[in-house]
């Protein structure tokens, strides 16, 4: 069974007084297997962010179904959604979304504190994770004291500490320099190799070229997908670049 099953998801935004309607997603269907590393690519306005918000249960689709581990997240009641998100999903954002009132350690522990876990358990989980992410010696620092790359590692640690079913990453490399980008992508690959399912939304071909599979979205639907197969990162990069060129020049799927 796939860990994530998205079927015929449609999202129409209506302006407040029912005037104009904007179709953000017309018909999206895809699935993600456990342990997969999937990148979703698309231009600005292609519906990427809407899709991610729906997967994150931050927004509800107009129609269609989203199953996480067989559970329909569209049907979850409003008051259970936060807990569901906390226990099953991990988030990594473009602009880190760290709280500047908390130290690095407290930012990472936030989801565990929110679920009311005992402090000993938090410490046990934090230590190996911080070591793995290379942030063990900045735990006492505050977000404004550390670099962008370190901030993003902190955000990754926060996403991983609950051992979520699925990590959702929204343009995780968008605010990083090339060195920090490389290091973060290596980290994602490492985490994925350890068995973590990752779904990343990006418009960077370089970021996508580290994934196992790349989905392309255009005009609110899945337009094309690429499997890594046996290709290396740079070969996959080449394929992605070709597809993007095709997309930009207006070619048809499967061409």
């Amino acid at each position: 069974m796939p860990i994530l099953q998205v079927s015929n998801v449609k999202k129409i935004y209506t302006t407040r007084f029912g005037g104009t309607q904007v179709q953000a997603l017309s018909d999206v269907t895809f699935s993600v297997e456990k342990g997969e590393y999937v990148a979703i690519m698309g231009e600005s306005g292609s519906g990427k962010t809407t899709l991610l918000n729906i997967l994150a249960a931050l927004d509800k689709p107009t129609s269609g179904q989203v199953l996480l581990n067989g559970m329909d997240i569209v049907a979850i009641r409003e008051k259970d959604i936060a807990a569901f998100r906390r226990d099953n999903l991990g988030f990594v954002f473009q602009d880190f979304n760290l709280l500047d009132t908390f130290s690095v350690q407290d930012n990472i522990l936030l989801p565990l504190v929110l679920s009311g876990r005992p402090f000993r358990e938090m410490e046990e989980k934090l230590k190996p994770l911080a070591a793995q992410l290379g942030i063990a010696d900045i735990l006492k620092k505050y977000p404004y004291e550390i670099s962008g790359g370190q901030k993003q590692r902190t955000a990754v640690a926060r996403a991983l500490i609950t051992a979520p079913q699925l990590v959702l990453a929204d343009e995780p490399t968008g605010a990083l320099d090339s060195k920090a980008t490389d290091s973060l992508l290596r980290l994602f690959a490492q985490i994925n190799a350890a068995g973590q399912t990752i779904l990343m939304v990006t418009h960077s071909a370089k970021a996508a070229s580290h994934a196992g599979r790349v989905l392309f979205i255009r005009d609110g639907q899945v337009f094309h997908q690429l499997y890594r197969g046996e290709s290396t990162d740079s070969q996959l990069y080449q394929k992605i670049a070709d597809t993007l060129t095709l997309l930009a020049t207006g070619g048809e799927a499967g061409a």
Binding site: A56, L58, K79, I81, A82, A83, R85, R86, D87, F91, F93, N97, L98, L99, D100, T101, F102, S103, D106, L109, L110, P111, V113, L114, S115, G116, F119, M122, Y142, P143, Y144, E145, R158
Partner: protein
């Protein structure tokens, strides 16, 4: 032509766009200039000179104008700096889009002209409108007859306009200087600077705890009015210092200690609450301390002046037991060659005759005598008639009063105790041994304590640092003996006192003051004629209750009015600080609110946590202010005793009411500003 109108139009748009910040600023200008106009109009009122006691009000208003002026300058600069901080981004953007610093300056000038000019003009209009209402209210309080007709005070308009235009210009100059020195990029970035974690300041924490403790200690241990007055400003200073330290350092130290306790800290509600408060306290500490101190001032000022005003009748009644009060100080033992000592009865008779001649119907007369002198207390019931002997720095000095049993009855209306020769009764609850001794070298007198009697309304007591002790003896002769004793002991003996009390039928009012004055001090008045028949005296005075009432109400009413006016201005400042705090925090919290939700906090939880933090930040200052008031209460009671007000219950009620009303107003302000805050956040 179009180009010329660009700046005013842009300035107008800016004001509308930033109305969240500009409107309160304009209202501040409006409110303070209206208050200032009203006060100066009261000072310049030409008709009021005729009114008895109005000079008190005028001098208080001048004081009030000074305080209000300084304070207004402080709030205007505060609100202006806040406004500019919020707008730096916008101005930076204009700068980048091609507006030179000169253009920006022109824009700011127009903005100041609109908002400042508008504020001042409408403030003057509101002031004129309310001037009459305030005059009615004030005259009512002062018990003056209310004049008719509307007056507009031109000098007050000019003074107010000049002062406020200067203030607005000063803020404009500060803004222009600030623009000159900053680069556009700096302006663009300035709102998104990182926030450092507050450091624990142990020294300040210690200083805060110590000075607050010392201030409180001084306040609760003050036990007489004179030392309370002497120590009051020290206590106020210590409490203000302590309050600032409390908010800036103590709060952060406490929060950090809580955070260091991991088991406690890593629980959902504590986790968000403590870290949020830590962050908020650092940013708001000074503002909160300001609010706390302002609130305390408002409450102390209003409750103190209110008690004084409401207690005025009582004070006057206690100090002036009759409508006409005669007081003579004399020495019954030594007189000038050939003169007889002062005699009370002829004086009383002459006064009654003179009053009757002037058309006043005398209802009742009474007279009392007492001997009074100061002593050092060598032990309980052991008094030294001698100040040369050094009993050390802690020596207690007392003022002793001797009255006869008849005087006691006249003063209290209670049956006189029957006392044998050498027996005394002590008034009030003081514990004394059975034998009381007065001594100095060869002089020594002992009295046997025969019991105790009711506290007497000691209208002749003047508050001083000597604690009074009143003893009742059997006869007037015994009073004379006591007088003779101190006469022998002291080189400069104390005087004997005589008081004549004359009640007028139906009482007297302010209208009678002039006529009564004429009876005694007029050209053909009592004191203009020969006084030989009353004997030899050192001083003889006449005190009119009606005059004291007029003066008393004018003074207390003036105080209360000043208290209320300054209270309103301080409250306005408090409201303003709170408002800006809410708005600026709202913008910052919006971001945190979003992140928390993404990480898995429900909307309701986020709301609850932010609400509890806002409530805490909001109500912490007045909770502390209420504690200040509680400790200060004893001090206020002592100080009011300087004005002869000894009604603790009245003061307590006034304080309670003032605190209640303040809490209600403060709560209302909270509800209003919290709405703006939640609108921004969600």
């Amino acid at each position: 032509m179009r180009k010329k109108s660009l700046y005013p139009r842009l300035a107008g748009q800016n004001i509308i766009k930033n109305r969240r910040f500009f409107v309160p600023y304009g209202l501040t200008v409006l409110g303070t200039s209206a208050a200032f106009y009203i006060m100066s109009a009261l000072v310049f009122d030409p008709g009021a000179k005729e009114l008895r006691g109005y000079q008190y009000v005028q001098s208080m208003m001048v004081l009030g104008m000074f305080i209000a002026g300084l304070f207004t300058a402080a709030i205007l600069f505060y609100t202006n700096s806040f406004l500019m901080k919020q707008r730096r981004r916008e101005l930076g953007l204009y700068n980048i889009l091609g507006m030179g610093k000169g253009n920006l300056a022109r824009l700011l000038c127009y903005e100041s002209l609109f908002i400042g000019g508008g504020g001042i003009v409408s403030g003057l209009l509101v002031g004129m409108l309310f001037h009459k209402l305030v005059t009615l209210f004030l005259y009512q309080m002062l018990r003056f007859d209310v004049p008719f007709g509307i007056t507009i005070s031109v000098p007050a308009i000019v003074l107010t306009a000049v002062i406020f235009v200067l203030l607005v210009l000063a803020t404009l100059v500060v803004n222009l200087l600030r623009i000159r020195v900053s680069s556009p990029v700096q302006m663009l970035q300035s709102t998104s600077q990182g926030e450092r974690e507050p450091r624990t300041k142990w020294l300040m924490t210690l200083v805060g705890i110590l000075s607050l403790g010392a201030g409180y200690w001084i306040a609760i241990t003050a036990d007489d009015p004179i030392s309370a007055l002497a120590m009051y400003f020290l206590a106020v200073f210590l409490v203000i210092l302590g309050t600032y330290c409390l908010f800036t350092a103590v709060s952060i130290s406490v929060l950090k200690l809580l955070r260091a306790n991991k088991k406690f800290y890593y629980q959902t509600s504590h986790f968000i609450g403590i870290s949020g408060m830590l962050y908020r306290m650092k940013r708001n500490a000074v503002g909160l301390a300001n609010i706390c101190i302002l609130s305390t001032m408002v409450m102390v000022m209003v409750s103190g002046t209110l008690s004084l005003y409401l207690g005025t009748g009582e004070i006057i009644d206690a100090q002036y037991p009759a409508d006409v009060n005669l007081t003579a100080q004399y020495d019954p033992l030594t007189t000038e060659e050939g003169a007889t000592p002062f005699q009370g009865q002829p004086m009383l008779d002459r006064s009654v005759r003179a009053l009757q001649d002037a058309g006043f119907a005398v209802a009742d007369t009474d007279s009392i005598r007492y001997a009074t002198f100061a002593v050092q207390q060598a032990g309980t019931g052991d008094f030294l008639l001698d100040f040369e002997t050094d009993l050390g720095p802690d020596a207690v000095r007392r003022t002793i009063y001797f009255i006869s049993a008849d005087t006691y009855t006249a003063l209290t209306g209670e049956a006189a105790p029957t006392l044998a020769e050498g027996e005394v009764v002590v008034c009030g609850g003081e514990s004394l041994p059975d034998t009381i001794t007065f001594r100095d070298g060869d002089v020594e007198a002992t009295y046997q304590l025969a019991g105790r009697a009711a506290e007497i309304p000691m209208f002749f007591w003047t508050p001083d640092e000597y604690e009074p002790l009143c003893l009742v003896v059997g006869s007037e002769a015994a009073v004379d003996e006591a007088y003779a004793m101190q006469h022998a002991a002291y080189a400069n003996p104390y005087d004997m006192y005589w008081r004549g009390l004359i009640q007028i039928e139906d009482g007297t009012s302010e209208a009678d003051v002039e006529a009564l004055d004429g009876v005694f001090w007029g050209e053909s008045g009592l004191f203009a004629g020969p006084m030989e028949d009353v004997g030899y005296y050192y001083s003889l005075s006449v005190d009119l209750k009606a005059a004291a009432e007029a003066d008393g109400y004018a003074m207390a009413g003036g105080f209360l009015f000043l208290g209320i006016v300054l209270g309103v201005i301080f409250l306005m400042a408090t409201v303003l600080i709170i408002y800006y705090k809410q708005v600026s925090e709202g913008y910052e919290d919006r971001r945190r609110f979003e992140i928390m939700q993404q990480v898995g906090l429900t909307r309701a939880e986020v709301r609850a946590s932010i609400r509890s933090q806002v409530l805490m930040v909001f109500f912490l200052p007045i909770a502390v202010a209420a504690i200040h008031i509680l400790f200060d209460f004893n001090m206020v009671v002592q100080l009011l005793e300087l004005f002869s007000l000894r009604n603790v219950l009245l003061t307590a009620l006034c304080t309670l009411d003032t605190v209640l009303v303040f809490f209600i107003v403060y709560g209302a302000v909270y509800l209003l500003t919290a709405r703006t805050y939640y609108k921004i956040v969600s």
